[in-house]
Amino acid sequence: MRTFTKLLKTELKLNIRNMNMVIFAIFMPIIVLVILGFIYQAKPAFEGAGYTFLEQSMSAVCTISICACGLMGLPLVVSGYRERKILKRFRVTPISPVMLLGVEFTIYVLYAFVSMVLLFPIATLFWGVTLHGSWPAFIGSWLLTMISTLSIGMMVGGIARNEKMASVIASALYFPMLIFSGATFPFEVMPGVMQKIVSLFPLTQGIQLMKATSLGQPIEHIWIPVVVMMAVTVICTGVAVKCFKWE
């Protein structure tokens, strides 16, 4: 435990010093929120809706940092450390791969958490956003979405041959998910065929679930997103740990 907290402290410091994630996971979601806030203000989502457009978008805005962490930050750090032979140096120390991955994983959990914790007060203060559903249900769905997305990143970082490859795979996942899963572009306005395709993304499932829990809507077939995301988490984490390469 002492090792874990010490490593976490140093690695987190290095990560913040690098600034990339501070920009993409902390500032960018806030900027998107502010833009949406200025455009839609406190307008209802549609005529006669019991919630505002912004309230409907909150879950999607929360996933911007999750995407940045899981599909950019995490895979690039792990594969970069491998390419720079930092993992090789760790290999001749008593550290376990699980500990190392765990530390990096936790850093991105913290980013995603800080992002969410900043977004809600800002939205509430300026545009009166409230959570219509229950907080525990929303937090639960947020956790599930975050952990499943981060586990994808951990797998990519674990198996990519080098940083370049990891970066290609990460972008191939990051951009489609960010654009089409409803994080930037509302799922509701997409044509039916497209909705079916993007429903295959675990992130789409996550956003739908977060949306329903935050707006307090009844959820049909709640087991589908839950099962999809849990399966993704278990498979990706398993592959990441099993196929972990130091070099």
């Binding site: 140093t10 690695e11 690098n18 120390t93």
Partner: protein, 179 residues
């Protein structure tokens, strides 16, 4: 009777069919300084890496402090310090951060501040590792290899990049540590 710290028998390693290490056997007893000499590309680093388990030998037996590097990795590296030829570090890391990060991995770490002092980089703790000169960085990597309070230490290209005086200092310190 001294114990055997490293025992290598019939080690073979080839890259793409070209033999780099061919039927090497060696034994290092505790309290001994063992130097592996050879021209560039002679296979010195490959031998060290096969002993440490970071490279898979084609055949042969290796035991270090009675452990097999692959199967007892975590136990072995509690007691062994390693300095690689091409040591790398996180891009923005500072000297004290790198030392702390290594220190926290061990059960009985040495005092790295003292080590840095002895190796003449005690005043550079707050500097970024990448801002150190070649010789300072080399000395830092020796410090890192000594942080575990190791029973056995592997030093690859120990004095490369060090001037004559620094070389002598490093040898002297290591000689003292051996006692």
């Amino acid at each position: 009777m001294r114990e055997e710290a490293i025992k290598v028998t019939n080690l073979r390693k080839s890259y793409n069919g070209k033999a780099v290490v061919d039927n090497l056997s060696l034994s290092v007893k505790t309290g001994m300084v063992f130097g592996l000499l050879g021209a560039n590309g002679a296979g010195k680093s490959t031998t060290i890496e096969c002993i440490l388990g970071t490279k898979q030998a084609d055949s042969g037996e290796v035991s270090v402090l009675g452990y097999h590097a692959k199967w007892n990795r975590r136990k072995l590296f509690q007691e062994v310090g390693v300095q690689f030829q091409e040591g790398d570090y996180q891009p923005e890391i500072k000297v004290f951060e790198l030392c702390e990060e290594i220190e926290c991995l061990y059960k009985n770490p040495a005092d790295w501040r003292q080590l840095c002092e002895r190796f003449g980089i005690g005043d550079k703790l707050k500097n970024a590792v990448k801002s150190l000169s070649g010789g300072e960085r080399q000395r830092l990597f020796i410090v890192l290899a000594l942080i575990p309070n190791p029973k056995l230490v592997f030093l690859d290209e120990l004095t490369t990049g060090l001037d004559a005086r620094a070389r002598r200092t490093v040898w002297k310190i290591l000689e003292d540590l051996k006692k």
